[in-house]
């Protein structure tokens, strides 16, 4: 630490440390390749359509990847990869993932395309929850009650859809999300209560009330109040016939299409409209907007309600989009994963979608891997997505910048 770096090559201690950590991470991955991925003999079959598949020799792939990873680690540790770092990281991660699948499925085969299709489907509530989070936090309100909004909306939409139809069910989910968002809004904007505490209260309230409804109302009336036929996938003509990708993206339910649309519209809205400019301004420096005549708190109310509505659709996905009923705590922390996706995506809708896909993928993998006899205890498989989250967010994404005013009430004077 005592050397003075010359101009041009000055690198802070933090940057050097980071480069070193990434280098060591490659070495760890290489060790996993050598000592784990080469242990199961046989070829793994990856089905990429009803009729075709490609095979990877699990052991050979593991050895080859391990050697490549050692080389990358050496390059990283010795001279750094510079501009290529992120590309290399993405490719290495993808290859490592394939090697892991090959190891798990060695001597057997599984539907690779089915797993990815499942991933896209499962990303819906995470994506929509994340958009709710982005809308709130970009406006300057921390919203950890996404989980509660998802859960409550899942419950009410299941009941409403069972009693009436799927459209009305979804609408009730939206209204439920908005109602909870209204509570958060009034408490945090008008009464300036700590936003994290209100969020927690909403989450526990949602968990408590839906558990109660589940036991006392839905279980006794299972057939009439908690029994519905979820929506069917809609095949988009032409696009769905694209080999491999068609099935993954264009043979999905309306929820999937809606979540993609929501990402596109939110991105356009935030960066290309008057509303977006004002929203970003009140999340970063509300006083600047306030002194120019923008009604900061009114816009926060509106955006929070919108966030609740979007999260409500995310909640309705469980009963109406996939399962066909409500179970106690059916969301099981997906709302919190959505917040991780917000951070992963640096408060940008497209980034959050990528985060949601990563988390959904780890879930889909867990469900597939469970079918193979890998010797990994199922508890560890369930843990994996969260471990991935921590490593990704802490190790590779690094410090990302939240909207500056998030969490601070605005004084109107």
């Amino acid at each position: 630490m005592s050397t003075v770096a010359g101009p041009g090559m000055v690198v802070s201690a933090e940057q050097r440390k980071r480069a070193r950590n990434v280098g060591f991470a490659y070495l760890v991955l290489a060790m996993v390749c050598f000592f784990v991925f080469t242990r199961r003999p046989g070829d793994a079959g990856f089905k990429i359509s009803e009729t075709s598949q490609f095979t990877l020799p699990a052991q050979g792939f593991g050895w080859a990847l391990g050697i490549v990873l050692v080389a990358i680690a050496a390059a990283q540790l010795l001279r750094g990869l510079g501009k290529l770092s992120n590309v290399v990281l993405a490719l290495a991660t993808a290859a490592f993932f394939m090697s892991f699948l090959a190891w798990a499925a060695a001597g057997d085969s599984f539907s690779f395309v089915g797993m990815l299709q499942d991933t896209v489907s499962r990303s819906v509530p995470i994506t929509l929850g994340a958009i709710g989070g982005i809308l709130s936090e970009r406006s300057g309100v921390i919203n950890i009650s996404i989980e509660g909004m998802l859960l409550a909306a899942a419950c009410t939409s299941a009941i409403a859809a069972s009693l009436t139809n799927l459209w009305l069910g979804t609408l009730v989910g939206v209204l439920t999300g908005m109602a909870l968002a209204a509570v958060l809004a009034v408490m945090s904007i008008r009464y300036k209560v700590d936003q994290v505490i209100v969020g927690f209260a909403i989450n526990f309230f949602a968990l408590g009330i839906t558990s109660f409804i589940s036991f006392r109302v839905l279980v006794p009336n299972r057939d009439t109040m908690n029994n519905l036929l979820p929506v069917m996938p809609i095949r988009i003509p032409v696009l769905a016939d694209i080999p491999f990708f068609g099935g993954i993206f264009f043979d999905q339910t309306i929820f999937v299409y809606f979540s993609f649309l929501a990402v596109a519209v939110t991105t356009w809205g935030l960066y290309r409209t008057k509303w977006g400019l004002r929203t970003r301004a009140i999340g970063e420096y509300p006083k600047a907007a306030g002194t120019l005549g923008v009604d900061v708190n009114k816009l926060r109310y509106r955006n929070l309600l919108l966030a609740g509505g979007v999260a409500g659709i995310g909640g309705a996905w469980w009963p109406i989009g996939i399962v066909g009923r409500f179970d106690q705590n059916i969301t099981n922390g997906r709302g919190f994963i959505a917040l991780a996706a917000v951070i992963f995506g640096r408060w940008h809708p497209v980034g959050a979608l990528c985060g949601a896909l990563v988390f959904a993928l780890s879930e889909a993998v867990r469900l597939k891997i469970g079918n193979f006899d890998t010797g990994i205890p199922s508890e560890f498989l369930i843990m994996a997505p969260y471990v991935v989250t921590i490593i990704v967010v802490a190790g590779f994404i690094g410090a990302s910048r939240a909207p500056k005013a998030a969490g601070q009430p605005y004084e109107d004077q």
Binding site: A13, K274, Y285, L292
Partner: protein, 506 residues
């Protein structure tokens, strides 16, 4: 257009911030509103800008009464405000900031950013402000940010432009540019209200001067009819010594030696770049420089708040480079930090607690785990008396004190013990003339007692008046080592702007 405030009174619990204040401003003139911190200038401007509603009195435009219930009303009436703390969103571009609230839109509420750019260019060209619409605010120097604020105001067609302490953050050359801009605005038929506590500037630019003290207008004058001493007396209510009274220094042994000190930010920027200097017993060394040239980081590295990437700091012959702030404190270093509310004080704690904050572990104030509050109170009472801290009750929170008195608390705490070296960053920023006089006198007194004093300030006047030697810092380096008795303000200003070759003699 003529804008008037008639008999404005605004009360807050416990104080009358504005007491029957009347003033008027017409387009085509510059009115300077001068007064100490806490005199009620900001309250008055918030009334004028629709943020506060007055309890009594009225606002008139061309003789007709008008009511503002929000800044939007004031903007609509032709009032524009350039706030002291710029109201700019740091992560957005110039164009985005300028059109916020009056966005040009296309179909479906989409933002017409091309039109926004054009609007910025148009105003910028008209008033020669030279702004790039696509630059991101956080990358811009302070002087340019101020021009963005000016464009914002002009774009909303303000007839009267209010500048709240506009020069506080500018370099001497930027101040001159700013005055040019003010003249251009007035020439184009706008009226300017210029709020300041700097007497020279008011005398330079204003057509008329109103002096505010304790919420009242205590004087109205014109630059041609008055001088600095007279205005200072009106502001404070008594005669004030504007120059620092001191004998020439008798430097002794080196007490603080900084060698090749380098500080690197987490993002890799070198903010202090191989800085070396010495401060001797019995002298005040001033560091001049425009804000953001590494002074903050230099002070933090010397005080132990930031790790040096290279070089050393020696206190009375002992290498303290790796020492903690506490170890430095015990070794005899005092530190008056730049931001008194964030670093110097715990504003929600009492004055007594703040006065013993760095010495609670002293046997005088504690034994084992127990605090000796009686001893602390006694000592605090003595310091309150000795350092003229204006308070009725030292057990009240430090936040109840005025800025000047808060600063006196820090000065008392840091200088009232046996020290070898004192490092003071912006020791008089934002405090009133009377308190400045007092703080300066205390620093000179400590110097004469044999303390080595390092003063970092962005106020060139302060550095020149207080220091026995002046170092100029530019882009992380010391670029000049000057004698304040023989060098002119203008020359130092040129070094500060980096437009002079290095002149470091050792």
């Amino acid at each position: 257009m003529k804008f008037e405030l008639r008999g404005i009174t605004k009360r807050f619990p416990g104080i009358v911030a504005n007491d029957q204040v009347s003033l008027s401003i017409s387009t085509g003139e510059v009115l300077a509103l001068i007064g100490e911190n806490g005199a009620g200038k900001s309250t008055l401007m918030n009334v004028l800008y629709g943020i506060y509603r007055p309890d009594e009195g009225e606002l008139m435009v061309d003789g007709k009464p008008i009511h503002f219930s929000s800044p939007a009303d004031a903007i609509a009436a032709g009032i524009g405000m350039v706030h002291q703390h710029f109201m700019l969103v740091p992560v957005m571009t110039v164009a985005e900031n300028v059109v916020l609230g009056v966005e040009p839109t296309g179909r479906l509420g989409s933002l017409d950013i091309a039109e926004a750019r054009r609007m910025v260019r148009e105003v910028s060209d008209k008033y020669k402000l030279e702004l790039d619409p696509d630059a991101v605010i956080e990358d811009l120097p302070v002087g340019v940010r101020q021009r963005v604020e000016i464009v914002k105001v002009l774009m909303r067609d303000a007839q009267i432009v209010v500048f709240d302490e506009p020069t506080a953050v500018l370099t001497p050359s930027e101040i001159l540019e700013f005055f040019e801009i003010v003249r251009t605005l007035v020439g184009a038929g706008r009226g300017v209200i210029f709020i300041t506590h700097k007497l020279k500037e008011a005398l330079t630019i204003a057509d008329r001067i109103n002096v505010l003290r304790r919420g009242k207008v205590v004087g109205e004058t014109a630059p041609s009819a008055t001088n600095e001493d007279e205005i200072a007396e009106m502001m404070v209510g008594r005669a004030v010594q504007l120059v620092v009274d001191k004998h020439s220094a008798k430097p002794g042994d080196v007490m603080l030696a900084v060698r090749d000190l380098t500080v690197v930010e987490p993002d890799g920027r070198t903010v202090v770049d191989g800085v070396s200097f010495e401060v001797r017993r019995g002298e005040i060394v001033g560091v001049a420089g425009v804000q953001g040239n590494g002074q903050t980081e230099l002070v933090e590295a010397i005080a132990g708040l930031r790790r040096a990437a290279g070089g050393s700091v020696t206190l009375a012959g002992r290498d303290i480079t790796g020492d903690s702030p506490r170890e430095r404190h015990v070794a005899g270093m005092a530190h008056i930090p730049e931001d008194r509310q964030k670093q110097g004080l715990v504003v929600d704690m009492s004055i007594v607690e703040n006065l013993v904050l760095t010495r609670y572990h002293d046997p005088e104030f504690s034994s084992g785990v127990r605090m000796n509050w009686a001893g602390a109170k006694e000592k605090a009472a003595a310091m309150v008396a000795a350092y003229d801290i204006r308070t009725t009750d030292p057990s009240q929170a430090a936040s109840t004190l005025s800025g000047g008195n808060q600063q006196k608390v820090i000065v008392a705490r840091e200088l009232s013990r046996d020290i070898k070296v004192a490092v003071a960053a912006q020791p008089t920023r934002g405090i009133d003339v009377g308190s400045i006089e007092y703080v300066h006198a205390q620093m000179v007194k400590e110097r004469d007692n044999g303390v080595a004093m390092l003063v970092v300030s962005t106020e060139l006047d302060e550095v020149m008046a207080l220091s026995d030697r002046v170092l100029v810092m530019y882009r992380g380096k010391i670029v000049a080592d000057l004698d304040p008795r023989t060098v002119s303000h203008m020359d130092v200003g040129l070094y500060m702007a980096g437009s002079r070759p290095t002149a470091v003699s050792s």
